[in-house]
């Protein structure tokens, strides 16, 4: 079967080789991927819920200081995610759950970018007990929905197709 040159290159890269050859690496990367997901979704989820009105006593600006933790979780998951992909790029490339997950990640990223440009400059005003703006609530609700769907899509990758992922 003929594969795209980029997929062949990823498959044969040192990362791909080590992910396939060292048997304990894949489950270990999965455990780390779950920890990264927990940091990312935990922090973003709590900020989203606060903006939507849950635990309104929390000042949004103080919660915002946890965002580096979410970004660290994201960075960890990019690295571990690349490891999964490099181990079997031909399988991942054709799995719909994976494609949908990447699309949802792009949408969640754009949503976060919109939030950081139009909402983040105003969060210092949202001290304990103060309601967030309507736009902030809409973007936060979208963010929550995107991340829940991303976790679903990610988990379903393992159950689709060949059963080798």
């Amino acid at each position: 079967m003929h594969h795209a040159p980029i997929l062949v290159w990823i498959h044969d890269s040192p990362l791909g080789v080590v992910m396939r050859d060292v048997t304990w690496l894949f489950p270990t990367f999965q455990a780390i991927h779950l920890v990264g997901m927990t940091l990312l979704v935990g922090v973003i989820g709590v900020i989203d819920l606060r903006i939507l009105g849950f635990a309104k006593g929390l000042p949004v600006a103080a919660l915002h200081r946890l965002i580096p933790l979410a970004l660290a979780g994201f960075a960890v998951n990019v690295v571990t995610g690349l490891g999964f992909f490099a181990s079997e790029p031909y399988s991942f490339a054709v799995v719909w759950a994976f494609r949908i997950k990447m699309l949802l990640l792009l949408l969640a990223g754009l949503n976060a970018l919109w939030f950081s440009i139009s909402i983040s400059p105003h969060v210092h005003g949202w001290v304990g007990g103060v309601d967030a703006s309507r736009l902030a609530k809409v973007l936060s609700l979208l963010s929550l929905m995107f991340w829940v769907c991303i976790v679903f899509a990610g988990r379903f990758i393992a159950f689709e197709g060949t059963g080798s992922l």
Binding site: Q30, A31, G42, V46, A62, L63, L66, G128, F159
Partner: protein, 159 residues
């Protein structure tokens, strides 16, 4: 014991979890989301106890514990469901037993920190009281125990 486990594993419910196209992945995904809720929120609370960031008031953080218990309920139910699918294997797996030990330790630490630190929260927020090093140590232990629970949970699937 093995007879009981085998009986659990042979129920039509356990059969559905194993063979239905959507059952197992949906239950596993809910288990992952519950994990994000329990551990994600506890990480935030533990970090605040350690002192990151100090600008976050503890009093309103107590409400976040409701998310922890919600996630814990979800994971207790989905965890029991996943257990029925392969009861004999899980019961005899040392990895699984260590995972349960880690979860029980994590929940116990959360309950202790929850009742003691949050009781003193108004004084801590006003600056009248400080969080003692013992509790900071427990918060660090809590983070480590949950990291262990997550890792062991993943390794069980590979046995």
């Amino acid at each position: 014991m093995n007879t009981l486990l085998q009986t659990i594993q042979d129920t039509s419910f356990a059969d559905w979890v194993r063979v239905s196209e959507w059952g197992y992945p949906i239950v596993l995904t809910l288990h992952s989301l519950g994990l994000a809720l329990v551990v994600g929120v506890l990480f935030i609370i533990d970090l605040r106890i350690i002192g990151i960031p100090r600008s976050l008031p503890l009093v309103p953080m107590r409400q976040l514990m409701r998310l922890v218990w919600l996630g814990f309920t979800v994971n207790l139910l989905t965890g029991l469901t996943l257990f029925t699918a392969d009861a004999v294997k899980f019961y005899h797996s040392p990895t699984f037993r260590f995972k349960l030990l880690a979860v029980v330790s994590g929940v116990t630490l959360a309950a202790i920190l929850n009742s003691i630190v949050f009781k003193a929260a108004p004084d801590i927020d006003s600056g009248a009281a400080r969080i003692s090093p013992a509790f900071k140590g427990m918060a660090i232990l809590s983070i480590l125990v949950w990291l262990a629970a997550i890792s062991l949970g993943r390794y069980v699937a590979y046995e």
